[in-house]
């Protein structure tokens, strides 16, 4: 008899422990809620010019066979639009600053390209700039003059350690370029609260969104911004799809 109790008790105990360990995120998510959706392009994407990297043989070799093109508009086969930043532009209570990821995001320079091409970060979120190439790059972001962010221009020779940096004010979006390789071109989107950048198929997920009514904004470097209202309830994920018209 007692044995049964003990066994059951232990089992329950283990179960609770285990599940609580496994389910922490879900539990919190259940409390928080999230937004998912797809960003599509309506129409044929504009021609993306191939990039001639002959100036930098070490990079050119990395792309042998598959020529690199510009990434101003990157649309998947089903019209999914990549590199679109989606974030909450209105309705976020001042207190609810999103949890920044435990491991800092990487802004890598590989094959004379920025990876990722568009990176969304929170205000004061530290991210790492790394150089995986055999050549020196200079990282030169250009925030709007007079804004809360300050322009800087810093070189990273091959083999030099990654450096850690953050933006101090919201800005959509800061163009980043490398003067040594003028074709290198990316964006830092600096926003408060939950944010995401669409994948190759145009999908995105905003995590940790507290229940409430929000205005979502999607920003695309060529087509600008679109907004729509969305209501997030605890438990079930809200969806918000965007469609940009090809000019």
């Amino acid at each position: 008899m007692n044995r049964w109790k003990v066994v059951a008790g232990t089992a329950v105990f283990l179960l609770v422990c285990g599940s609580s360990m496994m389910l922490t995120r879900n539990v919190s998510a259940a409390a928080e809620g999230k937004v998912t959706g797809t960003v599509k392009l309506d129409g044929t994407p504009p021609h993306q010019r191939p990039i001639d990297m002959s100036k930098e043989p070490s990079c050119q070799q990395q792309h042998a066979g598959k020529p690199v093109t510009t990434e101003n508009v990157v649309a998947g086969p089903n019209g999914g639009l990549e590199w679109v930043t989606v974030y909450i532009s209105e309705g976020l209570s001042a207190g609810a600053a999103s949890a920044t990821p435990s491991t800092p995001q990487k802004f890598d320079q590989r094959g004379c390209q920025y990876i990722p091409h568009v990176m969304a970060v929170d205000v004061n979120e530290h991210f790492q700039v790394t150089n995986s190439d055999q050549t020196s790059h200079n990282i030169h972001p250009q925030p709007k003059p007079g804004g809360g962010n300050h322009e800087w221009n810093k070189s990273q020779p091959p083999g030099s350690p990654p450096f850690d940096i953050a933006w101090t004010a919201e800005e959509v979006s800061i163009p980043v370029k490398c003067n040594i390789h003028p074709w290198m071109h990316g964006y830092h989107t600096v926003v408060k609260g939950p944010h995401a950048v669409t994948n190759a198929d145009g999908t995105y997920t905003l995590e940790n969104v507290p229940p409430g009514n929000y205005t979502l904004t999607a920003w695309q470097e060529t087509y600008g911004t679109q907004t729509q209202k969305v209501t997030v309830a605890a438990g079930k994920p809200a969806t918000a799809d965007f469609t940009f018209k090809a000019k």
Binding site: H140, P157, G159
Partner: protein, 596 residues
């Protein structure tokens, strides 16, 4: 005479307080030593910078230990960034050209010895003289400050070509605050040199003692006089140029920045400026500056050689006229720096001929030196070794001028290491050998002690051989097309040249280290050197007639010497031996025939 009476112009009471004596001193000798000290600090900083540059060029992207401490941004993990290399290069050039090659042979030795050699008790405007040093010192501090300001010093090179130097921070790190500091520093420096030149010229014209006609001035005094005249005109042009440059930066004017420039995809808010205007203004100063650096060296070397050859130069006058000709011509040739600058090709030719012509006075000077060695009684000591080394260097650096004077050849050599080798040999190394010769020769008079000859000779051998090992290969690199001002050699055709760079780097490290011997010799001899006799080299000019070494406050102890002879009466039969002092009334029979 009335109650509006006067005081002798150059006469001021001997200072009592420490400050007045050693810091804000009016005494041309103290000011000369101050200039020398400044140049000494500057030259070792500049040399350190060149070490870092050479290490990076030989072993690119190698982590240089400790460099990160110097600048976290400039050298993450001790690996020098491209911009930091250019910043060090700019500072190396600026420090060396302005604060070493201009201050040491001209301002330092000139201040100390020009008044003595003309037989005066001081410069006519001692307060200006003091100001000239302290203004220069401030200029130096401002330049150094740019190391720690914003994102570091300017990276635009010592020539500071517009618009790179004029558009501001968009052009790259250091082009914001660092650039403004650079231009301010140089503008201030110009003021200092103008005050100095004013004193030098007036000293030479007005303060000569009784019997000291212009032609009886030693060659060193003549060199300083000619240099000061050039300085007066050259720096008076550079200063306004720098001010306009500063205005383009801080006031948004467009003197040097044309319209329609796009940096980082942004249209620059400028219009109509002329980039060639900067080049014209700069080189109108810049080329005379080369001769401002080298002519004092010529004078000092002649002065030192004569005392050690125990004979005057073949012709005193011809040397003087040649140096003056160099000075005058240097203003007509500055355009040869701009052959490929987009300047009218006709004016390139117009500038080419005087540039070739200027080799004639240079050749005359060299021939007179070598010709005077013939039949001399050459004494070998550190001073004369450096003087002779100067001649060798001057010839080596001079012949490459033949190439660069011709626009057609400049097409293939412009902005290559050939140019770097050329001006380092003829301007930097030669001028510095002149400084060394002057130091070893005059040290006994400046400090009353001898320098250590053995150390001096070791220093000479490392410097002489080392300098050739460093700068001769530069010419080969240039002919092979190695472009200057590159922080790394990524071009295919430069890869095979990297071993040469490694060799140069090693040579530079060794030669540089040998300069520490000089530093030690200098400091040690200053306090513990063997006490010097009044006239250790048995020389004739007035600085060796002072009652003490170093000379008393008023140089000649209340007396003013009266000059009876030409400056260099060697090889004569006199009571003192084979020479007679310039101020001795003794009649002598010169060993040399009358000179035309």
């Amino acid at each position: 005479m009335h109650d509006i009476s006067t005081h002798p112009v150059a006469h001021h009471a001997p200072p009592e307080t420490f400050i007045r004596k050693y810091i804000f001193s009016l005494d041309h000798k103290v000011i000369g030593k101050q200039y020398y000290g400044l140049a000494l600090v500057a030259v070792f900083i500049g040399m350190g910078l060149s070490w870092l540059m050479r290490l990076h060029l030989g072993w690119t992207n190698m982590s240089i230990p400790g460099l990160e401490l110097l600048s976290k941004n400039g050298a993450p993990g001790g690996i020098m960034t491209p911009e930091y290399y250019l910043q060090l290069m700019t500072m190396h050039g600026t420090i060396m050209v302005f604060f070493v090659l201009t201050t040491a042979p001209f301002a330092a030795f000139g201040n100390f010895f020009l008044p003595i050699q003309v037989g005066a008790e001081d410069m006519p405007f001692p307060r200006f003289n003091m100001m000239s040093f302290w203004v220069t010192f401030v200029a130096f501090l401002v330049l150094m400050a740019s190391f720690f300001a914003g994102d570091g010093p300017s990276l635009a090179g010592w020539t500071q070509y517009a618009p790179l130097s004029a558009v501001g921070a968009v052009a790259g790190p250091g082009q914001g605050l660092g650039e403004v500091l650079w231009a301010s520093s140089i503008a201030i420096f110009c003021i200092g040199q103008l005050l100095g030149s004013l004193n030098f010229i007036t000293t030479t014209l007005d303060m000569r003692t009784r019997g000291m006609s212009m032609m009886r001035l030693p060659l060193s005094a003549w060199a300083w006089f000619i240099t000061s005249v050039m300085g007066l005109t050259a720096f008076a042009v550079l200063m306004p140029a720098c001010i306009l440059l500063i205005l383009d930066h801080v006031a948004g004017t467009s003197f040097f920045v044309p319209g329609g420039l796009v940096l980082n995809d942004q249209l620059q808010p400028h219009s109509g400026g002329s980039t060639l205007l900067w080049q014209h203004l700069f080189w109108f100063f810049g080329h005379p500056e080369v001769y401002i650096a080298i002519i004092p060296g010529m004078g000092i070397v002649s002065h030192v050689l004569i005392a050690n050859m125990r004979r005057p130069m073949l012709s005193h006058r011809v040397l003087i006229y040649s140096m003056a000709a160099l000075g005058v011509l240097s203003y007509m040739v500055y355009g040869h720096h701009m052959f490929v600058s987009g300047m009218n090709p006709l004016s390139s030719l117009a500038f080419s001929f005087p540039t070739l012509i200027i080799t004639i006075p240079s050749t005359i000077v060299v021939l007179i030196w070598i010709g005077s060695l013939y039949g001399s009684k050459l004494r070998i000591n550190t001073a004369s070794l450096f003087a002779l080394g100067f001649i060798s260097m001057f010839v080596s650096g001079g012949v490459s001028g033949f190439f660069l004077a011709q626009p057609s050849i400049d097409i293939i050599l412009h902005a290559t290491y050939f140019v770097v080798g050329h001006f380092h040999l003829v301007m930097a190394v030669a001028a510095i050998f002149g400084i060394f010769a002057g130091t070893y020769f005059w040290f006994p008079k400046m400090f009353g002690r001898m320098m250590n000859e053995t150390l001096g000779k070791i220093h000479f051998w490392f410097s002489f051989v080392g300098a050739y090992c460093i700068f001769m290969p530069f010419h080969y690199l240039g002919i092979a097309g190695n472009v200057r001002r590159y922080q790394a050699f990524v071009d295919d055709f430069m890869q095979p040249l990297i071993p040469v760079h490694k060799f140069i780097t090693v040579a530079a490290l060794v030669t540089g280290a040998a300069q520490l011997i000089f530093l030690y010799n200098l400091i040690h001899s200053r306090w513990w050197g063997e006490p010097a006799p009044l006239n250790p080299w048995e020389a004739t000019s007035l600085e060796w007639s002072t009652p003490t070494s170093p000379p008393p406050f008023d140089n000649f102890g209340g007396k003013h010497p009266v000059v009876y002879h030409d400056p260099y009466q060697y090889g004569v039969e006199s009571s003192t031996g084979d020479y007679v002092m310039q101020d001795s009334p003794e009649k002598v029979q010169s060993a040399l025939p009358e000179e035309a």
